[in-house]
């Protein structure tokens, strides 16, 4: 059973308290009507499915209830880090704050 650090509770918690919620940083388009069928398909279904470093969402559903993001190696299942929803993808500057989440 994985041990997952909830960035809100700020402590490691057992996997069974969490729900996996798919790939992270796929924002719902502001105006879906502007998307072509192909672009909408990509939004709905196409996923990185990375073998290795994977950005993904989890929800601490049986804990604080919050959705958050994580970077995990899908080969070893080791979490590199977890961070709160809304924080920029680590390595990318947040367009508002310039925050890179500590990763350059």
């Amino acid at each position: 059973m994985l041990l997952i650090h909830c960035p809100y509770c700020d402590e490691p918690r057992p996997e069974i308290e969490f729900g996996y919620a798919g790939e992270a940083h796929i924002a719902r388009p502001i105006n879906p009507d502007d998307l072509s069928d192909a672009e909408w398909e990509t939004y709905l279904f196409v996923r990185t499915n990375a073998r290795g470093r994977h950005f993904e969402r989890w929800r601490h559903v049986h804990g604080c209830g919050r959705f958050f993001n994580a970077v995990r190696d899908t080969v070893t299942d080791t979490f590199e880090r977890t961070y709160k929803a809304g924080v920029a993808r680590p390595g990318e500057a947040d367009s508002w704050t310039g925050d890179t989440g500590g990763i350059v």
Partner: protein, 953 residues
Amino acid sequence: MSAFRLPGRGRIDVARPVAFRFDGKAMTGAAGDTLASALLANGVHLVGRSFKYHRPRGLLGAGVEEPNALMGVDRGPGRHTANVRATTIELHDDLTVETQNRWPSLGFDLGAATNLLSPLFPAGFYNKTFMWPRSAWETLYEPAIRRMAGLGKAPHAIDPDRYTARHDFVDLLIVGAGRAGIEAALAASASGERVMLIDEQPELGGKLLANPARWDWLAGALTRLDDAGVVCLSRTTAIGLYHDGFVGAVERLTDHLPPATATGPRERLHRIRAARIVLATGAIERPLVFADNDRPGVMLASAARTYLHRYGVAVGKRVALMVTHDSGYQVAFDLAEAGIGIAAIVDSRPDLDPSLKARASDLGLELIPHAVVIGTHGAKAVTGITLAPLGSRQVRKIACDALLMAGGWTPTVHLWSHGKGKLGWDEALGAFVPEGEMDRVTCTGACAGAIDPGHGVHAEALWSPRDPASFKAFVDLQNDVTARDIRLAVREGFRSIEHIKRYTTNGMATDQGKTSNLNGLQVAAGALGNTAPQVGLTTFRPPYTPTTFGALAGSAKDALFQPTRKTVIDSWAHAQGAVFENVAQWRRARYFPRASEDMDAAVARECRAVRTGVGMFDASTLGKIEVVGPDAAEFLNRMYTNPWKALAPGRCRYGLLLGEDGFIRDDGVAARLADDRFHVTTTTGGAARVLGMMEDYLQTEWPDLDVWLTSTTEQYAVIALQGPRARDVIAPHVEGVDLSPEALPHMAYAEGRICGVPMRLFRVSFTGELGFEVNVPAGHGLAVWEALWAEGQRHGITAYGTETMHVLRAEKGYIIVGQDSDGTLTPDDAGIGWAVGKKKLDFVGRRSLARPDMLLPDRKQLVGLLTDDPHYVLEEGAQIVDVPNAPVPVPMIGHVTSSYHSPTLGRSIALAVVAGGRARIGETLFVPMADKTHRVTVSEPLFYDREGARLDG
């Protein structure tokens, strides 16, 4: 005392005899014995038959590595356990064991005929034959193969034992309480950390238990650990090492006790989370591979030492040893000192340690260097061996009643390997040892390759002057895999060790290759002309040793298998004789039969009551979500297809929820309680999903909205009163609400009190009649229900269940999400396109409705069906065709989603989805059943009160 029990030796209580039964025969051992040591003490060497060839087999080892001595243990009705190793069965009074895989008896086994035919059954033989004639596979071969299959007895009765579990959290977990594990525990014991030491054996000490010189140290160390508060668990096997310091372990609590005195759970699963883990799992001695090395009496040297020192049992009276490793000598010396005859020590190595030679000479032992055993003799027990100097045909025979093998040591790296730890080849050991690092986990002692004492050589198989393809030299004793099977696999192109394993089944027996993997690897490497590390090892899989299903299932059985959610009115329904059905996790009353009514009769009566008088229905299981905040209406507007912003407080609206793929996910009625507060309902099964979906959008897509969601499903008991007289039933009990149709019309909402408790009142209907849904705090639900029930008596009130609810709503064409829609239907398909806000620019799923396939005219659409025969009720799930009697495959254009006899209409009705269905209204279609094809007419999906006037009653 038997001839094989050695007075003054062993750690067990020889003075306390223990009676047991072995294959029906009464025998006596001593307290502290294992079944294996007790059998040896009784001079029993033949303990089992092998899987494939039914060859007679004796004990190989003294621990969990034992491949041969598998027993059925019978502890009473339902308490038979198959395939238990005799070496791990603790002797107790009334122990009853039977050998396996033999018929009619262990001594005379007809299955042994397969041994004579064994030339026809090499590895993989089944791939090559049993194919002709084709039909014979099903009629002849497969049944025959299945009859031969299996080892232990199949289960046939329910195990009455209980199993329990718990979570453990420690700073340091040490697996294995041999010397290395105990030292690790001692080192950590002063730190104040939480330390746990677990070991699979009944007694802590590991191999120290077979070394009397260390017993004082062991006793002192265990006392110190106890004083330091180290948690020591014996009879506890670490079965697997998982992610992030998580170890599963099973503690055996009662199997060592006589059945009559065993109380409490049989086993406990420990789910251990450890900050650090030390694996001190030791090493297992390796057998040697030579002709007929499987005869009873051929065993591991270390096992003989264990039997000698721990159990005071001699494995024979005249014992020969075949060694390739120094550790065998200590066993020979110990046996000799105990007065056991040593026939010879055969050592494959030419140059021997002078001190070992000197010691052997002092003890008068014959030492035969640079020679190997090339065969064994005897029928059901070894009576002698043949040996030959390496490279020579000058064979020599020696009589003996046991042959001990010392082939070196294999570190027990299973758990390390479960954790994806890397392994490196240790040439000196001839084995894989842990290599590199693993988060949280380290290895120590023999598990880490620190094998003591001495050195040895490791060979794929012992040399023989005979053609190696002409004899059986066993590698995997349980699965009857021989060295020549492995060579055959290589010859046939199986080069990966995983292929060789699977083709020969080497290492796939119930011992998971503890004594066979390394030898198999070396034979394969020899055949491939590669080195062992080039060939590599097969993957270790949990569990380390076979683990009881019950221990893993734990207490999750019967009522505790999964929660059965019951409403507060369930007890009343039960008392009324309701028949229940499971809906999601809930138990719901399906109908309330009176006297000898069947379901149809009860449902007909319940339906009539609602249509003509009043019915009462427990709707408490409906999901409820309170949506609160200044942006509540905006939020619902984005989630649901319907418009919400203009809904006035005190009004209700039907809400339809899609997935982002455009398909219907859920529906329900929501009431606006205030500008910033909605009471939203969902389907019973959809409650958790809908709330989770809403939270997802709210938290991650629209975090700027000030809205909060709270599940109130269980806050309220919901009592639906439906029928023309519904108002009459509640009116006397309601305070603070004007119930008149003008003040509280259909789809209105009000708050007040009923029976003196707070109430949220919905004027809604899922039946097409005048209806109210009374929501009261759940703790008051039963009292209010009973009060309304009493009140309703004068109005002929009838309780109805889900089945009646289904019929009533079907008469009105109201869909049930999940029954009439199935995750492939859009709102338009379901005929509820009116619920989609046409002016809305966006809502969840809207974009998908514009995809090409969603716009096709031949999509399946909800319609009604009326059978030509009004008495025939179509089967739900029946398929619909437009051409009767077409050949298979018959093109299908839809299926029946809901179908009932309508008591109101006096005929059958059905809802269905049909391709382009709405354009087919009035057409005749066909429902072909196995026995008959039924004609149906397509209709509007609305059979009763088309104008909806009754809702306004």
